[in-house]
Structure formats: structure tokens, C-alpha cells
Symmetry: C2
Subunit: 415 residues, 2 copies
Amino acid sequence: MSVGIRHDDLRRRNRAMVIAAVRRAGQPSRTEIAATTGLSHSTISAISSDLIGEGILTESKPSEVGSLKRGRPQVGLGLNPEAAAVMTVVLSLNFLSVAVIDYAGQVIAEEQRRLDTLTMSRDALVGECVAIVRRRLEDPDLDVRSVARIALAIQGITDTRARAMLWSPITPHTDIAFADILEDEFGIPATMENDCNMMAIALRWRDPDRYRDDFIAILLSHGIGMGLVLKGELFTGTHSSGGEFGHMIHRPHGALCRCGRRGCVEAYAGNYAIWRNARQMSEDAEPVADVSDADMRALATAARERDGPEREAYRKAGEALGYGLGSLFALIDPAPVAMVGVSAAAFDLIEPALREAIAQTAGGQHSQSISFDTEPNELPLIREGCATRALTFVDQEIFAPGTQARSGLGGKNVA
Amino acid sequence: MSVGIRHDDLRRRNRAMVIAAVRRAGQPSRTEIAATTGLSHSTISAISSDLIGEGILTESKPSEVGSLKRGRPQVGLGLNPEAAAVMTVVLSLNFLSVAVIDYAGQVIAEEQRRLDTLTMSRDALVGECVAIVRRRLEDPDLDVRSVARIALAIQGITDTRARAMLWSPITPHTDIAFADILEDEFGIPATMENDCNMMAIALRWRDPDRYRDDFIAILLSHGIGMGLVLKGELFTGTHSSGGEFGHMIHRPHGALCRCGRRGCVEAYAGNYAIWRNARQMSEDAEPVADVSDADMRALATAARERDGPEREAYRKAGEALGYGLGSLFALIDPAPVAMVGVSAAAFDLIEPALREAIAQTAGGQHSQSISFDTEPNELPLIREGCATRALTFVDQEIFAPGTQARSGLGGKNVA
DNA sequence: TCTATTTTTTCGAGCCTCGAAAAAATAGTG
DNA sequence: CACTATTTTTTCGAGGCTCGAAAAAATAGA
């Protein structure tokens, strides 16, 4: 069953703890780290001395902290930007974007490309991803050896182990093992993440007060996606990335969904569904491939101006989202929700019906206390999430590795 | 944030690990424990020597193991039944049952009572629980001091911390802090658990091969409940016991549910709902308070005999359960399901419509691979779950405590 | 009785964390 | 400007824990 704790695990975990404390706090002193981790000063001293010796952390000048207190000034510890780098690859509908990020979290290079993802062949799609990564890696300003991790994100379903895309609305092809492909090509560990999960991670990173242990990130875009954090952990399905909120059933035998089934939440609340209803097309009408953000904004403007089919379309979207959230809340209890994506900008049109629907459900008793936040731009969020995730991997798996000799100078006599 | 690992934690966790290994394996030798925990023989030897010295474990005679191998015979380690005892209290509709269980898991006493829970006053209900516990504690055969934990289970919603019942269908009263009440009364740590969660725990204990990391236990009774294990952990809501599968919305504005809302899964699949549909009453008809098991069995018999309203009622139940499961599977992916309770005996009537409905949902792609198991009797399961939970608490919190001096003989020179 | 085999215990080495004390580095103070 | 108070950081020895190797224990077969 579960395994006992070895003695070596102790140091490993505490190393990881120190690195995590520095990443979260920015420039904490050793004393601060001791306070947040609960470890003793001596232990922190020993571990940080190791980490500085290994080039993972750096001491910042006392002046930067600028304390006006008496006594020996604190020495801030920071992440050494050159200790490593990671790459993020975000693949969305007709769009591919890559960024290189240093160990301290700063973007040091990026590149973006428009593609026609819906019609590309499988090989072409994979080829574009590989090519854009290669171009970044060939950048003379970048030390290739320092790139320790590549995190891809895609809209759609990925497997639990974050190795492959299983299904995605942006391409007709399925089961593409992006992580393995990139690893084989470049020899750099890679993962294939779900876009909404990365949004959730970024939200927590941005605002840990609001998004801490339990919250929901919902992508209101062409499709409906969800990233869910429960009890401080990213929630994933047993086999796949899970959390397919958009494909919970809102109305049995209801409107036709892009996934081919009927009555999904997405079939009422996805951009194509709002579009379809606003145009008063049949619920059986085949979903359109894409609706531009500009068109969606125009729809929202029309809905705000007059009571007509546009307004009704947003109302239906709100109702579907509300009942869906209500069912979700029956399972997990209410939690803060962030609405992300172009339709989040039209949340004023969605919210009334959404709240009314929630009030009809088990979550309704807390209807008032449920708070919504909106963020119209999902792409930066997804990239931030990927970066955070990749850097966390480096922190934990590369710089606090399982049972492996630590590089060089094994001692304390570095200072 | 999260806290570093102290040196003392190491031993604590490994002690817990050893106890857990013994509880799971029954009579394992030290060598076996070393293998399952991954710790060295020396460590296991030291820890088990401590545990035996403290009276937590006992050595069983070599003969019992009865190996025919050459070499020094293995000495089996077992839980000392007298090391502690726990009590389970299961409160269900019109029925209260208590059991006393020794540290090795054997029932050593029990008592049951019929009540009229729906009409009792709050004080009377609490009073009955306190009284039945007191009677068991006054049993001269029982050493009161050895009782280390009381686990209550109730149908309904409990809080995350397992202290209080928040709402239950078996009584009109709400927010009863049973755990605190019993602790104050008897000075024994207590918890208030959700019945379906205990079912899930018992299922895993009974059949860890089938029910290991991810599975679902659904109670098909007067109401519909669910216990959910995900990634090896019991799933609870953020504030309450959560997993209110029965109150996911099947049809917006649909049939009247016992909870007062409309369209819940339970409003189609609970006993009262099947009864209501079988009698061709309106979906708006007030749910009846109780339907006897005998009546439900008669309904099932009628449904099997002829195609009529009874059969249709079960079909509707299956449909509601199927769409609900489908939505659940969209979130967590499919997992093995156990159907528990009186209507599980009529699962043959439910299954076709259920599978058909699931096939319409995101879970449909795996429709074939989803397997259902049935267990008509929920009470023993709930009790077993409580016992397992209470004993696990004793294992971890009492016999492998945080940072606390271990009792007596601190040494290895006990043998 | 002796040997092979398997389980369990013992023992010393190597780490790790901790608390206390020392060292380092600064701001006030007269 | 020397001295003191104060705060941070490092050093050092003590105490624990786990591990591997070797020893001890306990049995079956020859």
C-alpha cells in the first residue's frame, strides 16, 4: 500500500518547502522562511546555504529590503533567474503561442502564430508545435541546457497523467501524445495540460486570498470549460483531465451540442449556442465552427440595447450555467467562481438568469454568498498557469529530487 | 503555508504505517510489513517492538501461521483486541442502532431500537442517542476507559469537520451537533458522519480490489445518497459532507422533491418518487413520508410481471439516475458503482433505462465498461464503515500521536 | 547432529533537525 | 566615535531516526 517515509525524504521535502516559500514570498529572509515553514533557523540556514551553493537561490543585497529596523539587517533570498528556464506552449483555436520563462518567473522570449487548426492534418499540427519550440530553443540568447520543462496547454480533454491530448474541439484529430513527442524531440520533460486547469492555477497564483483552497474557474468561450480546485488540489478526473462542466446534462434530449450529444450545458452557453439562439435558429442546427470575439461583443451590445432574441439567448445561457453550477454545488458545495473568456465580458447579461437558476437548486440556499469574478482574457491566464506549473515541477522534481546525489559542494562551508 | 516536516513526525508516520499494515493484512510477519511499507527490517523491528511493549500489537503463536517452509518461522503480528474499543451509532429513519467493537474489529456488543424519528422532539432524539450510548458504556463487560472513539452516522448532510448534522430527512430538526454533545457527555472523542460516506468506506474495506481508488456508492432508498471515493480519498464538499447526488438537477422545473425543490434526481428515483409514479400521482404531489420495504418489493414484483405504471416508474428512476451519473461522469470520469439499499434489489428494472441514459451523456463512450454491483442491505455496511473509520482514527491519532511522549518503557529491551 | 534457510534483532554509521550559544551586522546613544 | 541594544544568521553538540550488515534465533531436511 502506501509507503513508509525514509530518512532522505525528509531533507528532500524540506528543501522543496524552502524553495516554495521563496517562490511565494518573493524575497523572504531566512527568518521569515523559518516562520512560514515552521522549521528551525538552523535548518533553514543549512538548507538555504546548500541551495545558494547550488546556484538555485541568490542573496539579494540588504539595501533592497531596506529595513529601518535596528539590528543585523535581513538578507533577502531570491530565485536565481539563471538556475533554469521553462517553456509554455498554448494551443488554442487557430492560434499557437510560446513563451520562455526564467526560473524567477520572468518572460524572456515569446512567439505567436496563427494557424488553421480545424483543417490542419495531424502531422502539420504536431509539426507546427515542434517547429515553434525548436525556433525558441535555437535562440542564441537562450542556454538550451537550462530549459528544464515544457508545459503545453490545450483546450479539450487530456489524460490524467498529463501526457496526451485525448480530444479537443480545435482539431478533428484525437489522441495526440504531445508530451511524449516533445520529449522525444528535444529531450526535455514535457506535460500536456488542460487549459482550464491552468487558468485555475494562475488564478490562485494571482490572488491566493480569493482563490485558495476551493474555487472554480469557468471558461466561457466557444466551448465551456472548467478548472476546479478542491481542498487546495487541482481536481482531475480518474482517467482524464475531467471537470467537463460544459458537458453535464442540462436538459435531457435538449439542444444539439458540439460534442454530438444533446442537452449539454455548452449547447446553451457556448458562444455557438448563444449565437444560434440569438439568430433564432433551431436547437438542432449544427453548431458553427467559430464565432469571432467581435461578433460576440456585437451580440452582447444588441442584447443590452433591446429585449430581443439576443437577450433571450444570454438568458438561456445563464439558466444553463446556473442549473449546471447548482448541480455542481450539490456535489462540492458552493465556492468562489471566476468567469473567464469573451462571454465573461457579457456576464451582466448572464448573471440574473444564472442566479435565478442557482436559487432553484441545492446550492440556492447560499445563493447570495456566491461571488463571481470576471476576466475576459483567457490566454494570459493559461500561459501564467503553465509557467507556474512548470516552475513548480522544476522546484520539486529537479531541485529537490527523490533520492539522488545533489550536485557539487556537499557542505556548509560555502559562505 | 504548508509546514515543514519535523524529525519527530517521521517516527509518528512510520508507526501509523505499521499499524495500518497490520490492520489490513491481518497477521503479517515483520518481514511482510517491511515489504509492504518499504521500510527496512531494522526499522520495522524497532517499531513493532515498541508497539508490542505498549500493548497495541500482540505476537501470535508461530503455529497459527503454520508455514511449512524451512528456516525460522514467521511470527505473526496482530492487533491486540484489548488495546481499545470503539462505538458505532447509526441513526436512520425510525431506527437507532449501536455497536461496540474491539480494537481488532470484532463486534462485542450491540443494541437496536425503533423510534419515531420524524415526530420526535429535538431533545428526545438527542436524548435517545445519549441514552443508548450510556447503556452500552455501563455494560459491566466493557472497560469504559478503553472506549476511544464514537462514530455516528446519519442519513443527511453533515459538516466537513464531521461534528454536526446539518440537515437530515429523518427529522425536521436541523443543526444538531451530535459529536459535541456526545463528547461533552462522555468525554470520548466523537464524529458525526454521513451514512453514504461510511458505506463507501465499508465497501473499500470489504473488497479493496474492486473498490480501491475511485468508486461510487449510491444509496437507493427513500432518498438518494452518494458516497464517493476519488484518488483513494473520501470525497467531501467544501463545507458539508457534499456529494448530494440525489439533488443534482435532472429536469429543471421538474418533479417535486422531498427537499422542496424541483427536478432533483431523487424526485424521480427515491422510493417515494417511484411510489408516486407507480401510483400515477402528479409529479407535484407531496412526497409521502415513508414507503415500507415490503411495499417497494411489491412494486418491483408488479413491475416485473407486467408492463404498467410500475415498470414505467422504475424506468423513470433509471433515466434520472442515468443522466445524473452521466453528468457526474463528465466531472470525474466513469468509475465502478455500487448500488445499495432496497431499490438495489430492483436494479434489474432500473438498469436498462439507466444505461440508455448514460449512453446519451459524456460518460456514454465508456458505457459498456461501467459495472454495477448491488447490495440491498445498507445498515450493516454503514456500521462497518463507522467501525473502520473509528478504528483508523485510533490507529492514527491515539496510537501514533502528534508530538506526545509515548507511554512507558521507551526501549527495545522488552523481549 | 549438522547444515541450509529464513526471520528477527542488534549494532554502528550516517543524516537530519533542534536548541542554545556565538558571531555578524546594524541603529541608537551619550 | 566608542559602546550598547537589537536583530539576523551561523555554528556546534545533542538526540533521534533509518539503514545496511552482521549476528542471533529458530526451524526443516540430510
